[in-house]
C-alpha cells in the first residue's frame, strides 16, 4: 500500500504517511495530531478522520481504543462570520 496515496483527512488533505510519521515522532493523541497535521480542522471538523486516526494510533502504539479519545471540539461548531455574531447580539438587545 502506498501510504502517500491514502487520504485520512479529506478536508485538509492529510495522508496516511503524514499521520504515521506524526505518531512515530511521539504525537499519540488525536488532539496532538490535529495540531501538528491540521487533520480535523477543515469543514467536517474531524468527522471523516477522527476515528481513522484513533485506530492508527491504537494499532501503532498498542493502546486500546477504549483508552484513546477523539480531538477536542470547541464552539463554534462550523463556520460563522463576525457579522452573524454581532447581529445576533444587537437583534436580541432591541427586542
Amino acid at each position: 500500500m502506498d501510504e502517500n496515496k491514502v487520504i485520512i483527512c479529506r478536508c485538509e488533505d492529510v495522508t496516511l504517511k503524514e499521520i504515521r510519521n506524526a505518531i512515530r515522532e511521539g504525537f499519540t493523541t488525536v488532539e496532538e495530531i490535529k495540531r501538528v497535521t491540521r487533520s480535523g480542522m477543515g469543514p467536517c471538523q474531524g468527522k471523516t478522520c477522527g476515528l481513522l486516526i484513533a485506530k492508527e494510533i491504537s494499532q501503532m502504539t498498542g493502546k486500546p481504543m477504549e483508552e484513546l479519545e477523539l480531538q477536542n471540539i470547541r464552539p463554534p461548531y462550523g463556520g460563522i462570520t463576525f457579522e452573524e455574531v454581532t447581529k445576533g447580539t444587537i437583534t436580541e438587545n432591541n427586542k
Partner: protein, 543 residues
C-alpha cells in the same frame, strides 16, 4: 448584554429521534424548541423510500418517508413545539447556554433541559486513491438519488453489506444503476438476510471475506482492485481482481455524532458495538450532565425504530421532571417504551447492541429471554451468500407435497430471527404466526392460508410469495413482489429468475395488483412451467 431566551426543552436534531422526543414532551405540556440544521425536518428518514421492519406498533411495513410525513404532521400541529429550521447549533457552554445560528444571526438560548438527537456520521475507509472523485458515502448516494433525483453513477461497487449497504444497493438498482458487486470484509453479511436475498435475486454478487485494496482511475473512479481475506482478516495471496465501476460507495458503518456533547464535556466511551465513541448515559437517556439527554444514533448506532423509541423515553423523562401533572401516567409510558426496546433488542440481531449497552453499564440484571438470542435455523450459508440453503427452504415448505393440491398457498422465505411482524399483522386469515414473539421466524399455516396474496405486498423484506402449483396441467403460478419500473402488463412474457438472479424460463404475466393498497410493491402473478414452481422467485421486464 444580549438577551437570552429561556425555554423548557431544546431538542437538537429533527430526525426520527428528535421528532419523537419533541412530540413526547410537548404532549405533556412542555414548551419545546426543535432546532434542525437543514431547511427541512426528517434527518435520514427523508431518503428512506423502503418499508421499515419492526413492529406494526412502531410503523413497521410503512415506508420511511411516510413515517416522516406522519411525524412532521404531528409536530406542526402541536402548538407546544416551535420548529427552528436552518438552525445550526454552534455551541453549548458550561453554563448550558446554547448558541444557535438562525437567519444569519447567532442567538443565545438558556434551556432548562436539552435532548441531543444529532444522529451519526458515516465512517470513512483508508485505501489507496480514496480521494478520487466518484467515491461516495452511502448517505450521499441516497441523498442524491432519493432526495434530489440525481443519478450518482452508472455502475457502482458497494463496500459494506450492513443494512445501509444492502438497502442503498437495492435503491440504486431501482434507479436504473448497475451494482457491480457488494464487498464485505467480514465472513458474513452484516444486514438482514431478506435484504441480501432480494439483491441476489436480482443477480448482484455479494462477496463476503473480501475487501477493497485500491481505487483505480486518473481523473475519477474507473474501477477498483479487491481481494479476498482469510479468517484472520489477512489478504489472501493472488486473489486480487479488478472490478470495473464508475463509482465506489462506502457503507462501512456509522459513528455517533458526539461533537456537541464533547463541547459540554459529556463523558464518552469507545464501544465498538455501538459504532465508536458513545456518551455515557442512563436508562432514561440522561447523560453524565444533569438535564442533558441523548436519543437515537448519537447514543449508539441502531435502527430508526429504536431511535424513535429512545426519543420518546428522553422526551417523557423531561416531561416527568419539569411537567406538573400526569407523573404516574408518564412513568407508565416510559416503562412501556423500555419494554418495547427490550423486545426489539432481544433477538440474535440485537446481540451486538446488548453487548454494547452492557459495556456502558446498562442492562445489568436485565434478563433477556435467551431462548430468542440464538438463530432457530442454521443460516450460515444464507448469511455468507444471501441464498437460502436447501435445508432452510425445506424447513419453510409444506412437509407434504399434497398440500400444494389445495390451491394457492403462501410461502415465507424469511429464515432469520429479527424483530419484524408486518406479515403476521397483514394476513386477514391469521395464517401467519410468529408464535407469540416478534423475534421468531414466521411460519404459514397452510390450512388457513387462502392464497389471497395480501402478505406479498406487505412484507418489507419481499420474502412472501404465493405459489399455485397446479394452476393448469402443465403450469404453475407464482405471485411475486415487484418494486421496479417499468411495470409489466398483463399478458406480457417476462424472463423468470431464480434465487440467484439466474434465468430459469419465460413466464407470462396473468395478473398485477398495483393499487393504493399495495403501496408501490406490486404483486405480480406469473405463469411458469410447472417444474419451476419452487425456484421461480423473481423476474425481469424487458424494456
Amino acid at each position: 448584554m444580549s438577551k437570552i431566551e429561556n425555554l423548557e426543552l431544546l431538542v437538537v436534531g429533527g430526525g426520527p429521534a428528535g421528532l419523537s422526543a419533541a412530540l413526547a414532551a410537548a404532549n405533556y405540556g412542555i414548551k419545546v424548541s426543535l432546532a434542525e440544521e437543514r431547511e427541512f425536518l426528517g434527518g435520514q428518514l427523508i431518503k428512506q423510500t423502503h418499508r421499515f421492519f419492526g413492529s406494526e406498533k412502531e410503523y413497521a411495513g410503512t415506508r420511511g418517508i411516510d413515517i416522516l410525513r406522519k411525524l412532521i404532521d404531528e409536530v406542526n400541529k402541536n402548538k407546544n413545539i416551535e420548529v427552528l429550521l436552518s438552525s445550526r447549533v454552534l455551541g453549548i457552554y458550561e453554563d448550558n447556554v446554547v448558541t444557535i445560528l438562525n437567519d444569519h444571526k447567532m442567538k443565545k438560548y438558556y434551556p432548562q433541559s436539552i435532548i441531543f438527537a444529532t444522529g451519526a456520521s458515516e465512517k470513512f475507509l483508508a485505501f489507496e486513491n480514496n480521494d478520487l472523485p466518484g467515491i461516495f458515502g452511502a448517505g450521499a448516494v441516497q441523498t442524491l438519488m432519493n432526495v434530489y433525483g440525481v443519478l450518482p453513477a452508472t455502475n457502482v461497487l458497494m463496500i459494506g453489506s450492513g443494512n445501509i449497504g444492502l438497502i442503498v444497493s437495492y435503491q440504486l438498482l431501482q434507479a436504473g444503476v448497475k451494482v457491480a458487486a457488494i464487498v464485505e470484509a467480514a465472513p458474513k453479511i452484516g444486514g438482514y438476510s431478506v435484504h441480501a436475498s432480494k439483491l441476489r435475486r436480482l443477480g448482484v454478487p455479494i462477496l463476503t471475506s473480501h475487501t477493497i485494496k485500491k481505487a483505480i482511475g486518473k481523473e475519477k473512479v474507473e474501477g477498483a482492485v479487491i481481494c479476498e481475506l482469510d479468517s484472520n482478516w489477512n489478504e489472501v495471496k493472488d486473489t486480487e481482481q479488478l472490478i470495473k465501476c464508475d463509482a465506489i460507495c462506502l457503507s462501512v458503518g456509522l459513528t455517533p455524532l458526539v461533537d456537541l456533547l464533547k463541547q459540554r464535556k459529556v463523558k464518552t466511551n469507545y464501544v465498538s458495538e455501538l459504532g465508536g465513541y458513545v456518551p455515557l448515559r442512563d436508562e432514561n437517556m440522561e447523560t453524565s450532565i444533569k438535564n442533558l439527554f441523548v436519543a437515537g444514533d448519537v447514543s449508539g448506532i441502531e435502527e430508526a425504530t429504536a431511535a424513535m423509541i429512545e426519543g420518546q423515553i428522553a422526551g417523557l423523562s423531561v416531561a416527568k421532571r419539569i411537567g406538573k401533572n400526569n407523573k404516574r401516567e408518564i412513568e407508565k409510558r416510559i416503562e412501556d417504551a423500555k419494554n418495547e426496546l427490550e423486545l426489539l433488542r432481544s433477538g440474535p440481531v440485537g446481540k451486538k447492541i446488548r453487548k454494547g449497552l452492557f459495556k456502558l453499564g446498562l442492562n445489568h440484571g436485565k434478563n433477556y429471554n435467551e431462548n430468542f438470542s440464538e438463530e432457530a435455523l442454521d443460516i450460515s450459508h444464507l448469511m455468507k451468500t444471501g441464498v437460502p440453503s436447501e435445508e432452510n427452504l425445506k424447513n419453510k415448505l409444506p412437509s407434504e407435497e399434497k398440500v400444494f393440491d389445495k390451491g394457492p398457498i403462501a410461502i415465507s422465505e424469511c429464515f432469520q430471527r429479527f424483530p419484524c411482524d408486518p406479515c403476521v399483522k397483514s394476513c386477514p386469515f391469521n395464517a401467519i404466526s410468529e408464535n407469540g414473539n416478534i423475534n421468531n421466524i414466521p411460519y404459514v399455516d397452510f390450512e388457513k392460508c387462502t392464497g389471497c396474496g395480501i402478505c406479498v405486498s406487505k412484507c418489507p423484506g419481499l420474502a412472501m410469495f404465493v405459489v399455485h402449483k397446479n394452476f393448469s396441467e402443465t403450469t404453475s403460478v407464482v405471485i411475486m413482489p415487484y418494486e421496479f419500473l417499468p411495470r409489466p402488463h398483463r399478458g406480457e412474457i417476462v424472463k423468470v429468475l431464480d434465487r440467484e438472479g439466474k434465468y430459469l424460463c419465460d413466464g407470462k404475466v396473468i395478473r398485477i395488483l398495483d393499487g393504493k393498497f399495495q403501496d408501490k410493491t406490486a404483486a405480480v402473478s406469473i405463469e411458469i412451467p410447472k417444474e419451476y414452481y419452487l425456484q421461480a422467485r423473481n423476474f425481469k421486464v424487458e424494456e
